[in-house]
Amino acid sequence: MIDTKVLKTEERAAIKLRSLYKSYGYQPFKMSKFEEYDLYVRNKDFLVSDRVITFNDTSGKLLALKPDVTLSIIKNSKGKALEKYKAYYSENVYRVSGATGQFKEIMQTGLECIGEVSALDVLEVVTLAAESLAAVSEDFVLDISHMGIVTAILAECGSNREFSRRVTEHIAEKNAHEIPALCEAYGVSFDVAAKLSALAGMYGDRATVLSRLSEICDSPEAREALSELTELHKLLSSTAVSDKIRFDFSVVNNMKYYNGIVFKGFVAGIYEGILAGGEYDNLLKSMKRTGRGIGFALYLDSLSELDGKGDEYDADVLLLYGEKSSLEAVHSKKLALISEGKTVYSTSTVPSGLKFRETLEI
């Protein structure tokens, strides 16, 4: 029997998530710490940070400490003769942390669904993302956006890459006030500028966002993406987590790889998003795979924020014994205290720097 009280939030979450993903039939995926550097170079824009730790193996081949798991799962899915490959993982990845600019080991768990992905699979992955957040905290929000709508509106004004990059940055910042000037500078029509500004302020309750979206989705591509969102909204409505799932277009992932639904999850008490994912058919195409792919990752290391202040005492009882104490008496006293549910630290001299609730001398 495991005493779950001693588990840290991240450890508890990791265990809960493993059984959650397993119950939906996802297969465990285990990878080595290293992967060929080449894999990351070819898809470096897909990575959260393009800096990876590299080294040469014994034959001189350049390897990298894995900064990502999704690419390896896609690579691995090639050998699977399945119409659909569903895998989950719990791995450490190594990437540069935004705040410090230093490499950091990040514990990450997540899943991928690759192949003949249906609307039902999309629903499953989105629901599992919400359930994963619920496993961490009841107070969570899952924000969903659709890259297809952003891409379709950008296509209306041609595709200047620099403009697309800058305007999606503004949309991600909910910065509607700078979009009109940017559009003017790039000669983008007033009509498209208004749509992009509207997108930057598009968030909240799903039904409200859908009705506002229908006003700006004109092109067939945009309408198709909208109907996918509408369908998802309907399906989600009957789930238990429905009221915590919102639409928010400030969730923007790289358009080169992500084409469909994208999402980001937050829990109260952690200052940044802890879950991110989406549909990445374009990435599959660039890796010469057919079909669709959708998945997400949850960053477990940030959950330590929820652990609170830490323990007030290092142990409940400091059991001090001297040269003349009977070893049997000390040992049985210790066992008696432990059986009462107390934590006991036994030693012959008072340890410096540790704090105890009470001290017992034998």
């Binding site: 935004g98 910065n175 937050f266 200052y271 940044e272």
Partner: protein, 206 residues
């Protein structure tokens, strides 16, 4: 309760006035003292003064739900936050300045002194100009006068300091003004409170 990080100095005082007019007053803030945090529990706001360049850090890390920072700081540090409003105050620009009569013939590496290392690097790499960045923390204007650098990249408000030191703007990079920023996670869990405050402040923008 909304935690609001205000930038120390004249800009911060102007911003507080806007917030006060928007209905988020906190009288204690006007008393001169050593207190760092000011709270008005009835209105659900808590203010604190921080160094202007630190506002974005407080907000990004969630110690403040909302903050007011110059666009110069946001461009330099690119914090992962929402930028909800342009307050249209604290207006100035980031610009390249040099000694009057300076000409960049493009034949050698340009020495650039600045506090804004990222802004300067991005600006020059966008035109593929090879530069040598010299990071300074103050009195940037001194660098070209003493020959430490060829040009400087700095905030220019009226241009008086430049003129007094025989310097002039040779290129504008980007206009700057104060922006209201919010922590992304806070925005999810305090949406209504933040929206109400943003609407109130918006009505005070001139």
């Amino acid at each position: 309760m909304l935690n609001i990080a205000l930038p120390k100095g004249r800009l911060g005082e102007k911003v507080y006035d806007m917030l006060e007019r928007a209905g988020y007053s906190c009288d204690a803030i006007k008393e001169n003292g050593r207190k760092l945090i000011f709270e008005n529990p009835d209105l659900g706001v808590r203010y604190f003064w921080v160094k202007p360049s630190d506002v974005s850090i407080y907000v990004e890390r969630g110690a403040a739900d909302i903050g007011i920072a110059g666009k110069d700081i946001l461009l330099e540090y690119t914090p992962d936050v929402y930028e909800l409003l342009d307050l249209n105050i604290g207006k100035c620009r980031l610009a390249v300045a040099a000694l009057c009569g300076f000409r960049d013939d493009g034949k050698k590496t340009l020495k650039v002194a600045t506090k804004f290392v990222n802004v300067a690097s991005k600006h020059y790499s966008s035109v593929s100009r090879d530069i040598d960045i010299i990071k300074l923390n103050g009195s940037i204007e001194l660098a070209p006068i003493l020959g430490l650098s060829d040009v400087i990249v700095d905030i220019v408000e009226t241009g008086t300091t430049l003129k007094e030191n025989n310097l002039e703007v040779i290129e504008d990079i980007v206009p700057v003004s104060a922006r209201l920023i919010a922590n992304k996670a806070s925005f999810k869990f305090k949406t209504a409170e933040i929206e109400k405050l943003v609407d109130g402040v918006r009505s005070q923008i001139k």
